[in-house]
């Protein structure tokens, strides 16, 4: 889990959440008022209709009804219009809030990445961030607005009934508070345990099934498929038990909501009857009373969901804030040294280990669950071991060093340290004769062109993926880089060429194609230091040889770091360092 200090008190999380709504104050208010107006229209329609029918039963002249008739017509029209307005306003506000949230989160996490994002073991962190932000989308529509609208409706309906007799209003408020406030709260309390169990069991069932499907070969070979199946059934049954408990509570809540709604109508009818028989109220108003009361109950319907969403929003907000509030792992110097140019790179007795509870990592690898084949070796480092233990080398422009023997963890870490993704111990890495820590991280990264072992490609066109390296690159430059990376014929064969979409909705590249694209990308960046991390591992021998030949031209005058153990790669190095 995320390494964070103290969990934030609940109130503060909610206050910070509400702070996001502040710029949208008028939108929120409009949504609440429109919601109130919608339900009030129903209340009005039922009240006026009941009065109209009652009046019609005793009236002698149709003109006596004209006001009520106008009321019925009005409310019949307004309800639909108010509802439309409410939906429009709340959704529009929601999308704007969502945009603000996304930008806020990105801005907040950008200085912390990638170290902070990697500090969790779970691979689905990013998917969860996306889901969490979308959960917060509901905060306004489903958590903030309905209760406030409900309060307004309650006051309105109670005032309407209270005008006839104060006790009618009091009774209505009592039943509404009980049904909309207390009952959802109690049912939430009763179902909390089962709800948590259901979530856990659901994910355990999923993992059990993943194990069964992905591990079927192992299971079949060891004759354990039936045992795993029984395990999955048991988890499914446990999930169903929790869901049944939830259904019991839900059924009870449904039943009690209906009961209280009916009891409110019954009580108010009964109070009305005594008022009528004692002569305190004209009989023509009797039908109006229970109908008004029952129509008002529409406002409490969304409230049980509001409780649930409140908890979900709070949990989501807490997770996001925990990530955002964490201090950055790399501290920028207060007054950075002038930007380096990259003529010398020196590593002096570099020792490094990760703080406890953080896995070491490959900074460029996609942070989503990946297939076992692509699983980097680097995940293995036990907490607290030295990942790098006394590495020393010096390079000047034009020199090429191969580093071999490094475990996956060691080389990924060295690259991360060079790029200032993690903080370097003082005096361990020197760039242009100055401690790396003295420079602004941004200035340091400008000097590096890196071909990572598992490059990340964006879900956009090949062209855009290349232009990430250099937005001003001309088509000719793109073509030259792709030619050097032996990617030109591949791209030429694609119907859409450079405009081919990559990723989920587009073309899936093989490991070798991804690597070659990363090589082309690195070559487009005019940087004095070139880092090649198993750059041709997925290429066949012939292509790899051609790529190295082309790369050789790009190495002249640069500092080059080669992490590789293939003879082809080692042939391009002036010196070889082996680290353990």
């Amino acid at each position: 889990m995320v390494t964070t200090a103290v969990p934030m008190p609940r109130q503060r999380t909610l206050l910070r959440l509400l702070a996001f709504l502040r710029p949208f104050g008028w939108w929120v208010a409009a949504g609440i008022l429109l919601g109130f107006a919608t339900i009030s229209s129903s209340v009005g329609l039922m009240a006026v209709s009941a009065y109209l029918i009652s009046k019609a039963a005793i009236a002698v002249d149709v003109t006596q009804l004209s006001l009520a008739i106008a009321g019925v017509r009005l409310f019949a029209l307004t309800r639909a219009l108010f509802r439309y307005g409410e939906r429009y306003v709340t959704h529009l506000a929601t999308f704007r809030i969502l945009t603000v949230l996304r930008v806020w989160f990105y801005r907040a996490i950008e200085p912390l990445a990638p170290a902070r994002l990697q500090q969790v073991h779970s691979g689905d962190l990013l998917a969860r961030i996306g889901a969490d932000i979308e959960t917060l989308e509901n905060f306004y529509v489903r958590v903030v607005a309905p209760p406030l609208s409900a309060v307004l409706v309650t006051l309105f309906a109670a005032a309407l009934l209270g005008a006839f007799d104060v006790w009618l209003g009091v009774a209505l408020v009592g039943f509404l508070v009980w049904t909309g406030g207390v009952l959802p709260w109690i049912s939430r309390r009763l179902s909390r345990h089962a709800a948590e169990t259901a979530i856990t069991k659901r994910s355990e069932l999923h993992v059990g099934l993943v194990d069964m499907v992905q591990g079927m070969a192992d299971l079949a070979a060891y004759g354990q498929a039936e045992a795993q199946q029984a395990h999955v059934w048991a988890q499914s049954a446990a999930l169903h038990r929790a869901q049944q408990q939830l259904a019991e509570v839900r059924g009870l809540a449904n039943a009690l909501t209906a009961l209280f709604t009916g009891l409110a109508g019954l009580t108010i009818l009964w109070l009305g009857i005594s008022l009528v028989t004692s002569g305190q109220l004209a009989g023509v108003y009797l039908a109006l009373l229970p109908l008004t009361a029952m129509a008002a109950f529409e406002c409490v319907q969304p409230l049980s969901q509001a409780w649930q969403m409140l908890e979900a929003s709070e949990a989501a907000a807490r997770r996001l804030l925990a990530l955002v509030d964490a201090p950055p792992v790399v501290v920028e110097p207060s007054t950075p040294a002038p930007a380096p140019v990259g003529v010398s790179l020196e590593v002096r007795n570099l020792r490094f280990r990760y703080p406890p509870m953080t896995g070491s990592y490959d900074p460029f690898a996609p942070m989503m669950p990946i297939t076992p084949t692509a699983q980097p070796e680097s995940r293995s480092t036990p907490d607290g071991d030295w990942v790098l233990d006394g590495l020393t080398f010096t390079l000047r422009a034009g020199q090429r060093l191969a580093i071999t023997g490094a475990s996956g963890a060691g080389k990924s870490t060295l690259i991360a340290l060079l790029l200032r993704f993690w903080d370097v111990p003082p005096g361990a890495i020197w760039l242009d004769g100055r401690d790396l820590r003295a420079y602004a991280a941004e200035d340091v990264r400008t000097l590096f062109a890196v071909v990572p072992q598992s490059p990340y490609l964006f879900h956009t066109t090949i062209r855009d993926n290349l232009l990430v390296a250099n937005p001003d690159a001309t088509d000719a430059e793109l073509a030259a880089a792709c030619q050097a990376a032996q990617l030109d014929t591949f791209i030429a064969a694609l119907p859409a060429g450079y405009d081919t979409l990559l990723g989920d909705n587009g073309l899936t590249l093989s490991g070798g194609e991804r690597q070659r694209l990363a090589i082309a990308r690195a070559l487009l960046k005019p940087a004095p230091i070139l880092v090649l991390d198993e750059a041709t591992a997925h290429l066949d021998a012939v292509t790899a040889a051609r790529v190295w030949q082309a790369l050789a031209h790009h190495m002249t005058g640069r500092i080059v770091l080669i992490f590789d153990h293939s003879p082809l790669a080692l042939a391009h190095a002036d010196a070889v360092v082996t680290i353990v």
């Binding site: 229209s41 006026v48 209709s49 009941a50 109209l52 029918i53 009652s54 019609a56 005793i58 019949a76 309800r79 509802r83 939906r87 429009y88 999308f95 945009t99 996304r102 930008v103 990105y106 990445a113 979308e134 355990e204 099934l209 499907v213 070969a217 192992d218 079949a220 060891y222 795993q228 199946q229 059934w233 499914s236 259904a247 449904n254 039943a255 009916g262 009891l263 009818l269 005594s274 009528v276 023509v284 009797l286 109908l291 996609p366 942070m367 989503m368 076992p372 084949t373 699983q375 070796e377 680097s378 995940r379 036990p382 996956g408 890196v450 964006f458 879900h459 956009t460 989920d504 591992a537």
Partner: protein, 607 residues
């Protein structure tokens, strides 16, 4: 497939669930009927007090009945929820049982590609989608017809004229429903697509953050996110606005009907054509007339996702489609198989008399002979006419480029698939004559990417022998060179691994698989060497373990490096599904043939 047949076929899998669902729907009907009754009772009470001057005492029985109907309605609502959930749970459990059985039947080969994820999703999330389908959509669908007719009938009895108003409004509503089913469905789908597109875009930015930072492009992306998010908010609003307009008309139809009824009964009340009680009752019933349809509209989404899930589930369960899960077979008639039974009927109906107990025949170590074996995955041939012999107790290395057929040989030996032509012989026994489960007891398998299951290290190792003691497990781990790293884990053998546990390196995973093989102690060992970039230490540990493990066994190694091939008694070189060379490592190198070329081009790198 129509919705009704789909539901019927789904519920045919669990008759108990179907019964429960009928009861739940019945309870829902009772709850609705109580509302109708309440409307009539309230009208009678108001009528009595307001127009007939009845005292509270005189209306008490009616008030009592009203209270009773409230209670009955509450109980019915409770029953509807609880029974519905029970029906859903029963059905889900039955389907999961049948689906997982189908997985076991199909075996591991069809599960290897990307369909694996889809299958898991169908069995976990797809089946779960039936929860809302069964508890919400199906009862609502039935009640939309039953309750609507019930209210209509009562209104017809109370006041036929109002029935006309309702009948006038209903087609309008049904029209809107149809629009929801058709146009709005595609609208919601589009909205969903846009939403997921935006999420994917945002995740892409977060995932690629390190890359963006490397190229100094990360800060400007905040503006891109702002722009894209705002754009998608806008287009989604355009989609939604249409949906809102649809519901505006629906909402208006419902309120307009209420208003129309109020006005119409008032005029007729004044004209003395209608009594007060039925007039008030039909006013109260008008919203109830629309309620079941609106409930159905709200639950429509549960219906569409449920139907989509049901279709996927039924497809998997459908016997006619079962072959979609099993690897493709060539026409059995063309194969030159000397076993008439398997030639005619395929492998699952191997004649019973031929099936012998593995233990009776198998004497360790085993001799293996591939006799003109051919196999294809669908249309893609993997082995063609492959013949070779493995002497008992010998170490054999299979080498060759990717796709040469090495893994297929392992799959056939493990009985994950059966030869389409030719036969595999174990000593004098045909492999297909043995019961697969019993045969597999004779085989220890070390896969290239061993799967680590959710659970502790110990649980994972005991897969090979569930009854093994900790001492036996740690002895095996010691022999496999795994004990040291396991002991260094935070909780030793009790450390959770798998999806949510501590991550292990490729070398460590393979050493765990070797431990499993040691624990199993079987006469045949099949080892698929890891291609991952193993560091020198891991490679050495694994090599030593393999030497120890080979003693007294027949060993088949799928080799990706020269090192392990050099240790073998015999090297079999495969090319495009054919054996092109075989012999000892040293001899083959001298021969200057395929093996020599393979060795030279790769020079110790994984191939």
């Amino acid at each position: 497939m129509s919705g009704a047949t789909l539901t019927a076929r789904l519920l045919a899998h669990d008759s108990a669930a179907r019964r429960l669902l009928v009861w739940a729907t019945g309870a829902g009907f009772v709850a609705g009927a109580m509302l109708v009754m309440q409307a009539w009772l309230i009208s009678l009470i108001v009528d009595g007090v307001f127009l007939r001057g009845q005292t509270p005492g005189q209306v008490t029985p009616l008030l009592g009945m009203l209270a009773a109907s409230l209670l009955v309605r509450s109980i019915a609502l409770y029953a509807e929820t609880v029974l519905g959930q029970r029906a859903a749970n029963g059905l889900k459990q039955t389907l999961r049982q049948r689906l997982t059985s189908r997985l076991i039947q199909a075996g591991p080969l069809p599960l290897r590609d990307e369909r694996a994820g889809e299958l898991v999703n169908t069995i976990s999330e797809g089946v779960e989608a039936l929860d809302a389908f069964v508890t919400q959509f199906l009862p609502a669908q039935a009640l939309a017809i039953l309750l609507t007719l019930c209210v209509l009938l009562v209104v017809l009895i109370l006041d036929p004229w109002t029935t006309l108003v309702l009948l006038f409004a209903a087609p309008m509503l049904l029209l809107m429903m149809a629009l929801i089913g058709g146009r709005a469905k595609s609208l919601t789908e589009r909205r969903f697509l846009e939403l997921s597109w935006m999420s994917a875009f945002f995740l892409d930015m977060l995932q690629g953050l390190p890359t963006l930072k490397l190229f100094g492009r990360s800060q400007e992306q905040a503006a891109t996110i702002q722009r894209v998010s705002a754009h998608y908010g806008k287009t989604t609003m355009e989609v939604l606005a249409t949906a809102f307009q649809t519901s505006l008309v629906m909402e208006w139809a419902a309120t307009a009907a209420t208003a129309l009824v109020a006005l119409e009964v008032s005029y007729r009340l004044m004209a003395g054509q209608l009594a007060f009680a039925p007039a008030l009752a039909v006013l109260l019933l008008t919203p109830e007339f629309f309620l079941p349809l609106r409930t159905l509209a709200i639950r429509y989404h549960a219906g569409t996702t449920g139907k989509a899930a049901a279709q996927r589930i039924l497809k998997l369960l459908d016997v006619a489609h079962a072959s979609s899960l099993t690897p493709g077979r060539q026409d059995a008639g063309t194969c030159a198989d000397d076993d008439p039974h398997s030639a005619l009927t395929g492998r699952r109906t191997v004649a019973a008399p031929l099936r012998q107990h593995a233990a009776d025949i198998l004497q360790s170590p085993l001799a293996i002979r591939f006799d003109h074996v051919a196999f294809a995955y669908g249309n893609r041939p993997a082995l063609r006419d492959c013949t070779f012999t493995i002497a008992p107790g010998s170490r054999v290395a299979l080498v060759g480029a990717t796709g040469a057929g090495k893994s297929t040989i392992a799959n056939l030996l493990l009985r994950f698939a059966e030869p389409q032509q030719g036969a595999i012989w174990i000593g004098a026994t045909r492999l297909s004559a043995l019961e697969p489960a019993q045969w597999r007891q004779q085989v220890a398998w070390v896969p290239q990417h061993p799967h680590l299951f959710q659970g502790t290290v110990l649980d994972n190792l005991r897969l090979a022998r569930p009854a093994a003691s900790l001492a036996e497990v740690s002895a095996a781990a010691e022999a496999a060179g795994a004990h040291a790293f396991i002991s260094a884990l935070p909780q030793g053998y009790s450390t959770p691994i798998g999806e949510q546990g501590v991550r292990l390196s490729g070398g460590q995973r393979q050493r765990l698989a070797l431990t499993r093989a040691f624990l199993k102690d079987a006469p045949l060992l099949i080892l698929d060497e890891a291609t991952a970039h193993l560091d020198a230490e891991n490679a050495a540990l694994i090599r030593d373990a393999v030497v120890r493990l080979s003693a007294g066994r027949t060993v088949v190694i799928i080799a990706h490096r020269l090192e392990l091939a050099a240790m073998a008694d015999q090297v079999i070189v495969l090319e495009q599904g054919c054996v092109v060379e075989s012999g000892a490592h040293a001899d083959l190198l001298i021969r200057n043939g395929h093996y020599r070329r393979l060795a030279a081009s790769l020079a110790g790198v994984a191939w």
